[in-house]
């Protein structure tokens, strides 16, 4: 039953975290100067009539005392109701459900690509000489430092404008997702490779690798059965962060490639100050982060039971 109590504790902690995030956002929205009803109608420039403002106040419960508003807001959140978008006048949850598959697809594909590239870079760098290692470091650092918006533009110039191989905007086809996915994957692979290489080098020169070689295992066997397993752990630990970062990276990538998705909806919401939409997407990405962290912790506990007990092995 240890697993059940561990899970209950974790889920409880995640729920409290979400509650704090929601509360902070609620307070912050009320602190924006100006009339929230005006913001709903499109800002002070919209010249909304007094009746329209009153209707908006009624619709969003702005006439109630703050505490009642807060209670209503939390009550809605618990039932999964994220409110109504100011700009689109539709439920935020509905818009997000429409946008989620595209972003999820992009994120997952680039996560797989990033792991593949990182693994290759780490493997090559770990087995080469000093000059190769130094070059590997530079490539990793540059890959990790390249901002999505520039990388995306470079890939468009090379593969779309010059070579004409791939479309520069998302077309909904397989070819259309290659450039966006690469744009998201390359910087991430730089981070992952940096982490993996250090532990790969350590693992390949460790006593157990030597023992395996002494038993007559080939270099390839040692590499896959011992080296890779050790290299994967720290990078795995980073996956929760990686998924969360990919979602914010998706904001830029979806914008560059004119690809519909959660990120682009968020950007639009920020520009038009559509607060329910902004809040919904922020809460959702916090939720994703926590779920992924939970899964990562569970996998780590399976690979290394001592760490799960808190022995810090």
């Amino acid at each position: 039953m240890r697993v059940v109590s561990w899970l209950a504790r974790r889920v409880g902690a995640a729920a409290i975290l979400l509650w704090i995030v929601a509360t902070v956002i609620f307070i912050a929205i009320r602190m924006i100067p100006g009339d929230p009803a005006e913001a709903i109608m499109g800002g002070p420039g919209s010249q909304a009539s007094a009746e329209a403002l009153e209707a908006a106040r009624e619709q969003y419960h702005l006439n109630e005392p703050l505490l009642v508003q807060y209670a209503l807001y939390l009550g809605q959140l618990i039932t999964g109701d994220l409110g109504t978008s100011y700009a689109q006048q539709r439920p935020v949850a509905q818009i997000m459900a429409e946008m989620l598959p595209a972003t999820l697809q992009l994120t997952l594909i680039s996560l797989v690509i990033a792991w593949l590239i990182a693994f290759l870079m780490a493997a090559v760098a770990a087995r080469s000489n000093r000059i190769g290692q130094a070059m590997g470091t530079v490539i990793e650092v540059v890959a990790a430092a390249v901002p999505h918006f520039w990388l995306g533009a470079m890939l468009i110039i090379i593969f779309s404008t010059w070579l004409g191989w791939l479309p520069s905007v998302d077309t909904g086809t397989v070819q259309g997702i290659i450039l966006p996915a690469l744009t998201l994957a390359i910087p991430l692979s730089g981070f992952l490779a940096q982490l993996m290489r250090d532990s790969l080098v350590t693992a390949m020169s460790s006593p157990f690798a030597l023992a395996a070689r002494a038993r007559g295992a080939s270099e390839g066997q040692v590499f896959f059965r011992h080296g890779f397993r050790h290299a994967a752990l720290p990078a795995l630990n980073l996956t929760g962060w990686a998924v969360a970062t990919s979602i914010s990276g998706a904001v830029v990538v979806e914008e560059v490639f004119a690809r519909p998705g959660l990120g682009r909806s968020l950007l639009g919401a920020v520009l038009s100050r559509d607060m329910p939409m902004v809040t919904g997407i922020a809460l959702f990405s916090a939720l994703i982060y926590m779920v992924v962290m939970l899964i990562v912790e569970a996998i780590e506990a399976i690979i290394n039971p001592a760490a799960a007990r808190g022995d810090d092995a």
Binding site: L17, I20, V21, V24, I25, A28, I29, M31, I32, V138, V141, V142, A144, A145, V146, P147, H148, F149, W150, A153, M154, I156, I157, S160, T161, S168, A244, T245, I247, S248, G249, V251, V252, E255, V256, L266, L267, A269, V270, L271, R273, M275, V278, A282, S285, A286, Y289, M290
Partner: protein, 263 residues
């Protein structure tokens, strides 16, 4: 740090500082000067980085933009680091309950990626250069706080500190002779890394139309502008972006070598 690395690092820092403080030494001319007859010139000897849609010299703009982009990066890092140092010191030396409250809070902030947090902040403040600085500063603070807290905790619990206590040294003596010297190098490396990151985040915001607005020669704003003409005027995007990558990668390598040579 090897000799070549040292020379390269010095050259890099020298070039960046010169471009930021005395841009006219590297690129005489006005970064805002318009010359419509020379619009969309491809890179040539006269215009090394080409010209934009109003005939402005992109090379001049990139060089003069160093100050803008770097100032934003520096200001954001200063803000983020300031908050982080404050929180780090409070958590490392304050009572236990404060430590756990702040840790929980940091965990919450950590659940929201930096760019998303910056977007959230700008949703409240509206776009602009100052909001971008605040957004980048605040959104990078949680990460730094955790690092600084861990570093201070390790130092306070170290044998060196125990020895100083046994020797009867005062609290102030311990802070001055052990804590500050051992923290400064770490902080310096962190700040170097942070500036590179901050330049990227800030230009990402400008690129999305939420930071510095055009026609200021800020790199992110230049990129946002160049995007419209991406298919036939690649130089408008390539060169400002290359400047951002150079600064970010240079700062990262510099910060890393600094940490490695210390330990």
């Amino acid at each position: 740090m090897s000799r070549t690395a040292k020379i390269l690092a010095t050259l890099f820092v020298g070039l960046v500082v010169t471009a930021a403080l005395f841009p006219s030494l590297l690129a005489p001319g006005d970064p805002l000067a318009v010359k419509p007859s020379e619009a969309f010139q491809a890179p040539s000897l006269q215009y090394p980085f080409g010209t934009d849609e109003s005939g402005r010299n992109v090379y001049t703009r990139v060089v003069h933009g160093t100050a803008d982009s770097l100032t934003i990066g520096l200001a954001a890092t200063a803000l983020g680091m300031g908050i982080a140092i404050l929180l780090g010191v409070i958590t490392a030396f304050g009572p236990r309950w404060i430590d756990s409250v702040i840790l929980r809070l940091l965990e919450v902030l950590y659940a929201i990626p930096a760019l998303l947090m910056a977007l959230l902040i700008i949703a409240f403040t509206g776009p602009g250069t100052t909001p971008a600085i605040i957004a980048v500063g605040l959104s990078t603070a949680p990460g730094y706080s955790r690092l600084i807290r861990t570093h201070l905790r390790t130092l306070v619990n170290s044998e060196m500190f125990d020895a100083a206590t046994v020797l009867g040294h005062s609290r102030w003596h311990k802070v001055r002779n052990h804590l500050i010297p051992n923290t400064l190098s770490t902080l310096l490396a962190l700040i170097t890394l942070g500036i590179g990151q901050a330049v990227i985040w800030a230009s990402a915001l400008s690129f999305l139309g939420l930071g510095t607005p055009p026609p200021a020669p800020e790199w992110g704003a230049m990129l946002a502008n160049g995007r419209t003409y991406l298919h036939f005027a690649w130089w408008l995007t390539v060169f400002p972006g290359a400047a951002i990558v150079t600064i970010a990668a240079g700062a990262t390598l510099l910060g890393r070598t600094a940490t490695r040579s210390r330990t």
